[in-house]
């Protein structure tokens, strides 16, 4: 169990603030009636106004800014600018859900919560708020339900109810992680899952988009083939029109065609190598640029993602790395490609493909004497 947990923490939570532990707005600072504690009114502003002013000031900072008490004091908003007063106000703000109390290096600090979010908190029950706060903290990585339960320490049914309520209010959603497709993972409804979760452009809803991978690699391969071998020039007639203005349909048409063909070349017998020292073999950066320029993919591909694509092409035996592994070159002959079936002695012999190979023994029920596969092969 512990292993699972730590594993998840490693992968999932590494983006949250590492050294600040979130202490949520629950009960730890029981709020008293502020009117009693505030002492005599300052005359100018009511405590409510002061808090509003403090909140407004903080809200001008970027979203996830963390304020410590010195920073808050430096705003000089409170008439009696001392720590005790400040704490009173921030506690109240925290209770209203407008501030989020956190601790950093043992000291209290705060984060501003948007009013709309605060409103959400207000409408939540205590359990729901607790659950929500953890889900919120998990940000775009999402949080696994098991981990959530561990952190909140809630009973299973309580937590499930809370989750159900939150889901029905459309505050959170359940997502699919690529790495753990079977884990129930939740994140705020308004967020887009991070690439760690979605697996990047190759995945849709946590499922590998094989067609997309296929199309992209096909295109990339053709692009590289075009640049790593010399090809006889193409007949004029099929050359693309010069860049005149294309109508919408033409552009669409062209893109569809690109999708089908790519702008590179196919392997052919007529390919010739370039002279030694040729340095036009495309690099990862160039290929990435070309792929993005082709607008084949709906999203802009990162180099690392294109690299992943090129890796699998290498593993498929279609590309090889040259020039100290920095550039890519298409392999001249690929098995399985149309027309090129480079069989060898083993794979073309009847036994090399025989389904009962392991059982075939000289005096066994399956043997070379009566074997039909052989007969077939001989007559072929």
């Amino acid at each position: 169990m512990n292993n699972h947990l730590s594993l998840h923490c490693d992968t999932g939570d590494n983006r949250s603030e590492s050294d600040s532990t979130m202490v949520t707005l629950v009960k730890e600072y029981p709020t008293k009636d502020d009117d009693l504690t505030m002492g005599e009114p300052s005359g100018v502003s009511s405590p409510q106004e002061l808090r509003n002013a403090l909140y407004a000031r903080c809200a001008t900072f970027e979203e996830n800014h963390v304020f410590d008490q010195n920073e808050l004091l430096s705003f000089n908003i409170l008439p009696e600018n001392n720590v005790e007063k400040l704490i009173v106000h921030t506690n109240r703000l925290a209770k209203d859900g407008l501030f989020k109390l956190m601790t950093k290096d043992g000291k209290a600090c705060w984060k501003v919560v948007k009013r709309s979010d605060a409103a959400k908190y207000k409408s939540l029950s205590q359990d729901e708020a607790l659950v929500y706060s953890y889900i919120e903290a998990a940000q775009r990585e999402g949080i696994w339900s098991k981990l959530l339960r561990n952190k909140t320490n809630l009973h299973m049914t309580t937590m499930n109810r809370a989750i159900k309520n939150l889901e029905s209010k459309n505050y959170i959603k359940s997502i699919k992680t690529v790495k753990w497709p079977n884990r129930k993972t939740y994140m705020l409804a308004k967020l887009q899952p991070s690439e760690n979760v979605t697996g990047g452009p190759f995945y849709t809803d946590g499922i590998l988009d094989e067609e997309f991978v296929h199309q992209m690699s096909l295109w990339a391969e053709r692009y590289i083939i075009g640049r790593s071998w010399w090809h006889p020039s193409l007949p004029e007639s099929v050359k693309r029109k010069p860049k005149s203005k294309l109508t919408q349909e033409e552009a669409e048409e062209l893109r569809a065609r690109e999708l089908r063909r790519g702008q590179g070349r196919a392997r052919s017998e007529a390919m010739l190598p370039f002279r030694a020292g040729y340095n036009g073999y495309p690099t990862l950066a160039e290929i990435t640029r070309a792929i993005n320029a082709s607008e084949l993919s709906g999203v802009v591909m990162k180099e690392s993602e294109v690299g992943q694509l090129l890796d699998i092409l290498c593993w498929d035996g279609r590309l090889e790395k040259v020039l100290n592994g920095k550039s890519y070159r298409a392999v001249r002959l690929v098995i399985g490609e149309e027309g090129i079936l480079l069989d060898n002695g083993l794979t073309e012999s009847p036994c090399g493909r025989c389904p009962v190979f392991d059982m075939c023994e000289e005096d066994g029920p399956v043997n070379a004497r009566n074997c039909e596969y052989f007969q077939e092969w001989l007559q072929h």
Partner: protein, 671 residues
């Protein structure tokens, strides 16, 4: 030796030397070392038959023998020789290619005889061509088709000499009839004891003795100018008598089976073994045999050339073939890097046999089509320096003319490409102007360019050939290793075989995997071989396959023994759910598995040949009757002739397949 390999060896022996011989061979293979009485016991044959069989096996070097101090001779199977029977066809073909038709004929003769005295070989031809006019030219390469008629004793001698020189045949040495272990023991007897070496420590003495033993073994293995008393060439005459059962009965047993007694060929005559006299004659008493190692070297070169052709292009492969041919004479066998002792961290590359650019250029001066093999490319795209000095590689501009050209590509190309192939090639040749090359050259190592360029006008091919050579050297497989020109030494090239062979093996294995289990399976295998041990989750995301597909490929590969699975329990409970599963690709295991499969496939092929042969046995027998040969039309019915034709076709097909399977074996085992 594995089960299938022995099955195969027995089948091969059976196929060539008949049932009796193969039965004895099988018993020796199965039981290990056996003496004649033991053999008689195990085979249940009569002593006469056993002796006859053993004689054949000895003649073909299919068994080793060893005579102990108690005068008991034991026999042991020589599985390498038995396996090599399958290569007979290739040997003849190689000899023909290298030294002409007649050399092929001599090799096939030698294959038939196992090993033979020069005199006997000459005589075998001599009798047939006594009154024919002598061969007019003195060169060893007899290319006539009409071999028999032109053969004179002299031409046989010359051919044999050429074969010896090329290393395709070698002198027979007694050690060739002993197993490796016995050779080692014998060498230990010849080399003086450790105390003899006057070193400071005992260990140094031991080491020196070890070296001496290895050297002795080496001398025995490759006899050239044999020393007295140590090389005792086996007297072939005696063996021949063994073949004749009637005669063998009359000879006393100990004389028969103590082959190293009195009548060992005198070594005095062998001193000048490889020197051919004014008469052009070899010593008639020399005993020759096929040098399997050398043939393996040549076969390896062929595979490499094929690999180069697949990965670069035909013309480059042609240049490569020439390089390998130049190096051939310096490479003795496939298993060691000749001349470069390996001290653990790979051999000293400079010590490997080398060949200079000039030699290659000279050898290829008549090839005219070398320059056509390159794609025309803008000179700015060529930068030789980057390949030699990776760090200084200069960054390229983003957009350039070539990209434009390439982008112009679109729709219906692909199919038409093959057609305009020839004219564009012609265009391209003319376009690859000198100036471009000069530019590439100039960027290259300045010290080498002076000489190279000075020569260029004399030999326009030089740069082209250098380009081919560099292409080979720069390929990820590293077909060649390049030694740039220095002030004292010309530019040279060598082949570092060990890593290259690793590539070749990997290439071959993966090709088989791709062809059998599909491209995706190959992807997973290559991934594993690059990354080491990988768990399923990572494998899934790295391979960009969905889990289900990936699993099905992994299972198939695993079942076939191509990849392995390791289970790492995370705690003591060994609960499968708490276990990590790591996949990995062990090339040695995969290779071993595939080798066994190949042996088995070959064995099955041979079994099938037998079965098919039995079906048409009577017809075949009839057709090979002396009165029928040449008059088939007369004696054989239409059906019979048809059956015969079909049978021959089938036989050819199966043996062709066996030969291709053997190519695989060679790659996985011998190279």
């Amino acid at each position: 030796m594995s089960r299938y390999a022995s099955e195969l060896c027995v089948l091969l022996v059976d196929n060539l030397y008949g049932e009796l011989t193969s039965r004895i061979f099988q018993v020796i293979l199965r039981e290990g070392r056996l003496s004649i009485p033991a053999l008689i016991h195990h085979t249940g044959l009569t002593p006469r038959l056993v002796k006859h069989g053993i004689a054949v096996l000895l003649q073909q070097q299919l068994v080793f023998w060893h005579t102990s101090a108690e005068d008991a001779t034991v026999y042991e199977a020589n599985t390498t020789a038995a396996y090599n029977l399958v290569r007979a066809g290739k040997y003849v073909q190689i000899a023909e290619e290298q030294l002409g038709h007649f050399a092929g004929a001599v090799i096939s003769n030698l294959l038939l005889l196992g090993h033979a005295r020069v005199g006997d070989l000459v005589q075998a031809y001599g009798t047939r061509s006594k009154d024919k006019p002598p061969l007019s030219n003195g060169s060893g390469s007899v290319t006539d088709d009409n071999v028999e008629s032109d053969v004179t004793p002299k031409s046989v001698h010359i051919t044999l000499h050429d074969l010896l020189q090329a290393g395709l045949v070698s002198l027979v040495n007694e050690s060739h009839f002993r197993s490796d272990a016995d050779n080692r023991i014998e060498a230990g007897k010849v080399v003086p004891a450790a105390e003899y070496f006057k070193n400071k420590t005992k260990r140094e003495n031991e080491e020196q003795r070890e070296m001496a033993i290895l050297q002795k073994l080496e001398e025995w293995k490759y006899p050239t100018a044999p020393e007295e008393e140590e090389v005792e060439i086996v007297n072939r005459g005696k063996k021949r008598r063994l073949e004749d059962p009637k005669e063998s009965e009359t000879i006393k047993r100990q004389r028969l089976y103590l082959p190293l007694v009195d009548k060992v060929a005198s070594t005095a005559g062998t001193a000048g073994a490889l020197r051919i006299g004014h008469t052009g004659a070899l010593n008639n008493d020399h005993i020759l045999r096929i040098n399997h190692d050398k043939f393996a070297v040549i076969m390896r070169n062929r595979s490499l050339v094929a690999l180069a052709e697949q990965s670069i292009c035909k013309t480059t492969a042609k240049v490569y073939a020439e390089v390998l041919r130049r190096l051939e004479s310096k490479v003795r066998n496939c298993k060691e890097e000749t001349g470069a002792p390996d001290f653990g961290d790979g051999p000293e590359l400079h010590a490997l046999p080398q060949v200079s650019t000039d030699d290659i250029v000279a050898a290829l001066r008549h090839s005219t089509d070398l320059a056509n093999a390159f794609g025309n490319v803008d000179a700015s795209r060529v930068n030789l320096r980057q390949s030699d000095h990776p760090k200084r590689r200069r960054r390229r501009e983003e957009s350039d003319s070539e990209d434009e050209v390439m982008k112009d590509g679109n729709a219906s190309r692909g199919e038409e490409e093959d057609e305009d192939d020839s004219d564009s090639e012609a265009l391209l040749t003319s376009a690859s102007s000198e100036s471009e090359e000069e530019k590439g050259e100039a960027e290259y190592d300045p010290s080498s360019s002076t000489k190279t360029r000075a020569k260029a006008p004399e030999n326009p091919q030089l740069n082209t050939i250098r380009d081919h050579l560099l292409l080979l050297a720069q390929h990820p497989y590293q077909f060649l290793h390049h030694f740039p020109e220095t002030p004292i030494l010309p530019e040279k090239w060598t082949v570092y075989f060990a890593p290259l062979m690793a590539h070749l093996t990997h290439h071959t294995l993966l090709r088989t995997i791709t062809s059998r289990y599909g491209l995706r399976a190959a992807r997973l295998t290559r991934l594993l071989s690059e990354k080491g041990k990988v768990d399923e989750k990572n494998l899934c995301s790295l391979s960009l396959l969905n889990q289900k597909t990936m699993r099905s490929y992994l299972t198939a590969l695993h079942q076939a023994g191509m990849i392995q699975l390791q289970e790492v329990p995370r705690d003591n409970s060994r609960n499968p759910q708490r276990t990590l599963y790591l996949w990995f690709f062990d090339i040695e295991r995969c290779k071993a598995k595939m080798l066994q499969e190949t042996y088995k496939s070959m064995a099955r092929c041979l079994q099938r040949v037998q079965v098919e042969g039995d079906k048409v046995k009577s017809t075949v027998e009839k057709a090979s009757r002396s009165d029928v040969i040449g008059r088939e039309e007369e004696f054989l019915g239409v059906q019979e002739r048809e059956a015969l034709r079909k049978w021959r076709e089938m036989e050819d097909k199966i043996w062709g397949e066996v030969a291709r399977l053997d190519d695989m074996v060679a790659i996985m085992r011998d190279f």
